[in-house]
């Protein structure tokens, strides 16, 4: 008796106080413009701008601009994919820890690759990739699934239907698989940078459990290809 009335009260209260309850989307006035962070766009001389860029500049002179979030940086070292990965690794808002783990991971990758580089014979030295960012991006690209499965109910039965995925969803799945693989299927006492660097190097060479998981998904999609017509988009 008390529980439904409390929930209903909460909902009614939230509807009555639309501006005071916390909401998840942004509450800027629509006239606010996005901040421009890249240094190159500000250093361009006036003559080189195209028509629309000139209009944009004039618009920025009259309209207010949103505050830049702390995760947005104009540094050459900032990479949106790495930031996203760090955020996904973060637990309970401990961004400091997540960022340090990420930098330790990249350092570990670099160390391993340098070791391999110095031990390799002369003719093979060019094939060894030492840039940890390149390895990270390539590993993520190799882990991204190409086709996914979604549950569609027809006539009371739920089928797994192969479905194309959006870019965001692919990136998210790749990162999620990497992180869960490192968190769950490794020895308890190994540290995260160690585990992650190992996984990333395996994924870079198209081996390892994450790539296997991607292949398992592809195989299931291939097995269910008869249901592909259940899609309506």
């Amino acid at each position: 008796m008390a529980a439904p009335s409390a929930a209903g009260l909460g909902r009614r209260l939230r509807a009555w106080l639309p501006r005071i309850m916390p909401v998840r989307w942004s509450r800027y006035n629509p006239s606010y413009l996005e901040p421009e962070v890249k240094k190159e766009s500000h250093q361009k001389p006036l003559e080189e701008l195209t028509e629309e860029e000139r209009e944009q500049m004039e618009l920025k002179a009259v309209r207010p601009i949103k505050a830049a979030p702390p995760s947005l940086s104009s540094s050459v070292f900032s990479d949106p994919m790495i930031s996203k990965f760090t955020n996904m690794m973060m637990k309970s808002g401990n961004k400091v820890l997540a960022r340090s783990l990420m930098s330790q991971t990249l350092e570990a990758i670099k160390r391993k690759q340098l070791e391999k580089y110095h031990k390799a014979p002369e003719n093979e030295k060019e094939t060894i990739e030492c840039n940890p960012y390149v390895i990270f991006h390539q590993a993520l690209k190799n882990c991204q699934p190409i086709i996914g499965l979604s549950n569609i109910t027809r006539g009371g039965k739920t089928y797994q239907v192969p479905v194309p995925l959006t870019d965001n969803r692919k990136r998210f799945l790749a990162m999620k698989w990497l992180i869960t693989e490192c968190r769950e299927n490794k020895h308890r006492r190994t540290l995260m940078p160690e585990k992650l660097s190992q996984e990333l190097l395996l994924a870079f060479n198209n081996e390892g459990p994450v790539i296997k998981r991607k292949h398992v998904l592809h195989k299931m999609a291939e097995a269910n290809r008869a249901y592909a017509h259940f899609r309506w988009w």
């Binding site: 192969p162 999609a221 017509h229």
Partner: protein
């Protein structure tokens, strides 16, 4: 003797009302004989799935090459192109124009009819 009590239809028939066209109306419309301002809700036919041929080609390539992505790069590229094209198509189709089959869904027809209702009286 009193006048014989014939049934009602006999008296009416004899009086010649039926032949004089004084008969009950042949049509008794339950509703007004005018177009309403809405159409019935029809279950809209769903569109077909897109990019199935490309997907099956890609899966055949996977089967041949043991699910490696490197030998199948061409098929994967065509599949991605098809998906991007279908997504753009879906975004671009304007809601107020006809769908690909040439029908307007009943909800949109009702909205239009509400904007331009049937005039029932002249003022």
């Amino acid at each position: 003797m009193a006048a014989p009590a014939y049934p009602g239809w006999v008296t009416r028939w004899v009086s010649g009302q039926w032949r004089n066209k004084k008969r009950p109306p042949t049509l008794r419309p339950p509703r007004a004989l005018a177009l309403a301002d809405k159409v019935a809700n029809r279950r809209e036919q769903s569109t077909e799935a897109t990019c199935i041929t490309e997907m099956s080609v890609m899966m055949a390539c996977w089967k041949r090459n043991d699910f490696n992505d490197a030998p199948c790069a061409e098929e994967i590229r065509t599949f991605y192109d098809c998906v991007a094209k279908a997504e753009k198509e879906r975004k671009n189709q304007n809601e107020d124009t006809l769908s690909s089959r040439g029908n307007l869904p009943s909800s949109k027809v009702n909205k239009l009819l509400k904007r331009f209702p049937q005039i029932t009286r002249y003022v």
